[in-house]
Symmetry: C2
Subunit: 263 residues, 2 copies
């Protein structure tokens, strides 16, 4: 079985992964006979997918992201690092996307420590370009899962900017095992012994954003070239009957509750 | 001290809440002499804030959101419930916002259980309309915190649609004490004894989305009328030196790590 065939074979299995989401979506699609055209689009200009994409340079993107972090922070930096280039190379619909609005993704959404803004920003970019799974392609959905798993497993930060504000030798690397800001930043602060306000922590997060933008563009280039293959390996809803991460015991310890099953 | 005076007095304290974010932003603004015009905007049409807003009816919004959940799920349902009305009443820039792309917010971002899509969608709406704090107003930032705290503390679901798909008497109510999908849905499933795939769980989440849209529009109407006052009461970065929620012990138990302090 080729990779492409395997992917196709996996599609039906994947379609039940998101639990209620996928099931309900399937029901809706069946009920309405397909939803390729959103019901509410007025002119459809921004809700026809995929948006036009041109191959981008990962290093250039990461450098833009690193600089943008110091202006708009993690989430908006990832979004702007991709969309500002596409504004220059493509124009609309990217010109109309209000990237700076996503500054609020900082600190896991205004400091609440939920999903890291870098991962959230990457998920937004992938799904705005490729479109939602209800419009026909599962790729934006898969890329989001790929990015979150990669983010959780890689030793961060990966990317070293051309002109780092802090000597890279002073920035320790850590593996978050989670896409959550609180856990990612907390593990780094513990390993570094440095506070949230430190210049090293800020530069670490700027480089995490740049690393995420780099990886995102690598994947988007593969998707654009038709060679993209999903790499995420776990499905919380299908495997555990609840939305969640891959490492239940890290938070629950030995006392992992069993989700109600059935239906 | 009036509420308005108290709010003004609180502003300087609030400005350090987000830790590195606010501090770095302050430095950036000081360095560049203000950032009211984003550096990269081509025509500025979507990055001039606030976007035009007209008063919306919370009940109408919640009903739209409830129906949209069964098409695009929590995050995009909240976004579309507000923006589709503003497309009709205002037109651009709302017409160009690709609301359906945010279907991926479902299940805490493609099933990963991070921030509930309803809260994430509300945060997007508030910050796209009001703009980022780096552009001059802190209100979008505050409304996000207000929504996440309200979401965590209220007995959900609040809103009862006019034509519920499931008898409301069959939907138990729970308090999540968190804006995270995994925790919000998990506590509900435990109390209800029902699985993720159940029709009751789906309708509960549709009503959580509708409840969040209702509350969001109540707040946006206050903001539009000039009577908005932030209601969030905790600041993780300022109080604990790390991004996070308000209830450390719920996950950490008695062994709450102390974040490195200083600088």
């Amino acid at each position: 079985m080729t990779k492409k065939e395997k992917r196709c074979a996996d599609e039906s299995r994947r379609s039940v992964i998101i639990g209620a989401g996928a099931v309900a979506a399937g029901m809706t699609v069946a009920h309405l006979g397909g939803l390729l055209t959103p019901a509410h689009a007025k002119d459809g200009s921004t809700e026809k997918w995929p948006w036009p994409y041109v191959k981008l340079d990962p290093t250039t993107t990461a450098e833009i992201c690193y600089e943008e972090w110091y202006r708009v922070f993690c989430g908006a930096a990832v979004i702007n690092s991709v969309f500002n280039q596409l504004r220059d190379k493509v124009g609309e619909p990217y010109t109309s996307f209000p990237g700076d609005s996503f500054t609020f993704l900082e600190g896991g959404q205004v400091g609440w420590g939920t999903i890291c803004g870098s991962a959230a920003g990457a998920n937004i970019v992938a799904n705005v370009i490729i479109g939602p799974r209800i419009a026909g392609s599962q790729d934006g959905h898969h890329i989001s899962a790929d990015i979150m798993q990669w983010y959780s497993e890689v030793n961060m930060p990966v990317f070293v900017p051309n002109k780092p504000r802090i000597d890279p030798a002073k920035i320790v690397k850590t593996t978050s095992q989670s896409p959550l800001c609180h856990i990612s930043v907390g593990k780094w602060m513990k390993a570094a012994g440095l506070p949230l306000k430190s210049a090293e922590r800020k530069d670490r997060c700027a480089r995490v954003a740049a690393s995420t933008a780099y990886r995102l563009v690598e994947i988007l280039n593969e998707w654009h070239a038709g060679t993209y293959e999903p790499t995420d390996t776990f499905k919380a809803a299908a495997e555990h009957g609840i939305t969640g991460q891959f490492n239940c015991m890290e938070c629950h310890g030995d006392d992992v509750p069993e989700a109600p099953q059935g239906i």
